[in-house]
Symmetry: C2
Subunit: 346 residues, 2 copies
């Protein structure tokens, strides 16, 4: 994956927020730490993006190698904004795995290399960058970004559904994040079919077993092996990829590939049932659909999900609003930056 560094929306504002000591009052960094890429952004106090940088996530090594790449990404983004990392008010990181939000330690981030155990991510980054670092759950910070800055702004309570390799979820209830005992939001693992399809998590019948990109790819391979006609893997090889990316799925759907169409129809059916179940339980006013597949497929598929939810809604006369995430790929970084300077309660 190429490394990209660019300035965006850079303005005089930044000079105005410089304090006499050389640090800025409200210029913050945000890191979206994903399994394939690390996206860093620098934002001002109005959450305008002043610079950004993207690095590939290391596929081998140890957590410290991932931390080094995060340092490189935030340094690149700061540079694009005309700053050094030490001049930032702080840096927030949205991370997979189990997060200790007090200490900034991350454990069991299984999509990242050598990260089964615990690693002091916040302390390591803070030492290297010379600025405070806070770590939060990747899906939860993206949900908070949509709540404070994106499609969720008009609502007090919402469910964020991040439809990508897996299906993650985040909750805002009555204006505040709801994390339960620390593990809430696992919408991907609501059961939509008893004794159903095998999920990458090892269980059966989870929503993610039908709708996650990973599970869909496994299904496509099986159908192709069974002799079903599909261009999905031809497209993958043609594009020199090793997995069925969201853009490959989108291309195949546009060309009415029968296997892709069947698998996506099945995914939408599962998303409709699982999200409706969540709404029947918690009755939020809005559902926001993001994630790699959600963003790639866009509004027409958000509408399809809402349509599939309808027959399962107990209060079917008052469905929630179902909306596309408004912040796109930037949601994760913007939400991470909010960890440093949380917005005032609405």
């Amino acid at each position: 994956m190429p490394t990209a560094t660019r300035a965006r929306g850079f303005s005089d504002t930044i000079q105005n927020t410089m304090s006499s000591s050389g640090t800025t009052h409200a210029i913050r960094g945000g890191i979206d730490l994903g399994g394939t890429k690390i996206e860093a952004i620098i934002v001002d106090d109005a959450n305008t993006v002043l610079g950004s940088s993207r690095k590939p996530t290391p596929t081998e090594g140890a957590p410290k190698d991932v931390a080094e790449q995060i340092v490189a990404a935030i340094t690149g983004a700061a540079s694009a904004a005309g700053l050094k990392p030490s001049e930032l008010l702080g840096v927030g990181v949205g991370s997979p795995g189990v997060i200790d939000t007090e200490t900034g330690a991350v454990r069991g981030a299984r999509n990242l290399p050598g990260w089964e155990g615990s690693f002091e991510l916040a302390d390591t980054l803070s030492d290297r960058l010379g600025t405070p670092v806070r770590v939060g759950n990747d899906v939860q910070v993206a949900t908070e970004a949509e709540f404070h800055l994106g499609a969720g702004k008009p609502y007090q309570s919402l469910l964020g559904v991040f439809w990508g390799t897996g299906v993650g979820g985040g909750l805002i209830l009555d204006g505040k994040p709801w994390v339960g005992r620390g593990g809430a939001g696992e919408i991907g693992h609501v059961v939509v079919k008893l004794d159903g399809a095998q999920c990458p998590c090892g269980r059966r019948g989870c929503m993610e077993a039908y709708a996650g990109r990973g599970a869909m790819e496994a299904r496509a391979r099986k159908l192709a092996d069974d002799g079903r006609k599909t261009d999905l893997f031809k497209l993958m090889r043609h594009r020199d990829r090793t997995r069925l990316t969201s853009s490959i799925w989108a291309h195949a759907l546009e060309h009415k590939d029968p296997v892709a169409t069947e698998i996506i129809d099945r995914a939408i059916t599962a998303l409709g049932a699982g999200i409706a179940s969540a709404v029947n339980l918690i009755d939020v006013g809005a559902v926001i659909i993001g994630g790699g597949l959600g963003l790639r497929f866009g509004q027409p598929y958000v509408k399809r999900i809402a349509t599939e939810m309808q027959p399962h809604l107990f209060n079917d006369a008052r469905p929630p609003d179902v909306l596309l995430a408004a912040l796109g790929d930037l949601g994760g970084g913007l939400g991470a930056a909010l960890l440093v300077a949380p917005p005032a309660a609405d």
Copy 2:
């Protein structure tokens, strides 16, 4: 159904809480308004039951006839406690249907006669009883009773599951009831099997389609009509009942009736999946099982539900505590009485 009026736990306390005007400071009435019976209790400020009365719910007529029967029940319970209704601090009612908690109007209580529209229940009762009346959702007040006074006391967040004719749910999150936009808690209508069994609600694959007493009875009739051997309906006729009550199910299970065993196994499987889905989403520390079937089957079945939840829990190393409701049949009335004098926040 016979009408029963009895005094229980009546003590000198009541005289001590009499004010000079003749009304009491903290003696309250609580009504559990069900589809088959109306249970009235009188409680003191320690939530000790001072008297109770039970009346059958009218099966014909209009909401005003139900209101008259509520008046009779609360008058009987007050009499058992040596009081007149007008001497109570107030009366709370836990009602089915859609409740306007501000005005105490109830609409769409479909299990009650002629109650499709809206009826000013609080105002009607208050005029007749000479004391303030507040109305809340039956399942939500029973959940609050377990939270403040019963099995939920050690927890800050919990899910109440009321396993009876239907399967209702109530939520306490961070010490407070969570009702969403007014319709939260419909755990009975989380989808556990896409394209699954027909639910009494008209949808397919809901948890209640497998676990509700109504759905289980319909299934038993179908299997009996198909020639499967069962004593369920023989027991029903023998006991002069028109439906398969929870005690008939319990008796058939004790005698290893094959149809009853198969249907209950299926119900427990569905409860396990549906409740685990809810826990995956909201990650509460406790699940409390009540309702007619839950209370009748008791602790061994609560344990079976917990066992069936386990394979579906995403955080399977930290399952929630799964507990039997501690207040039994009195939960609804005790919770309703809390509407009049809510306990201080824990």
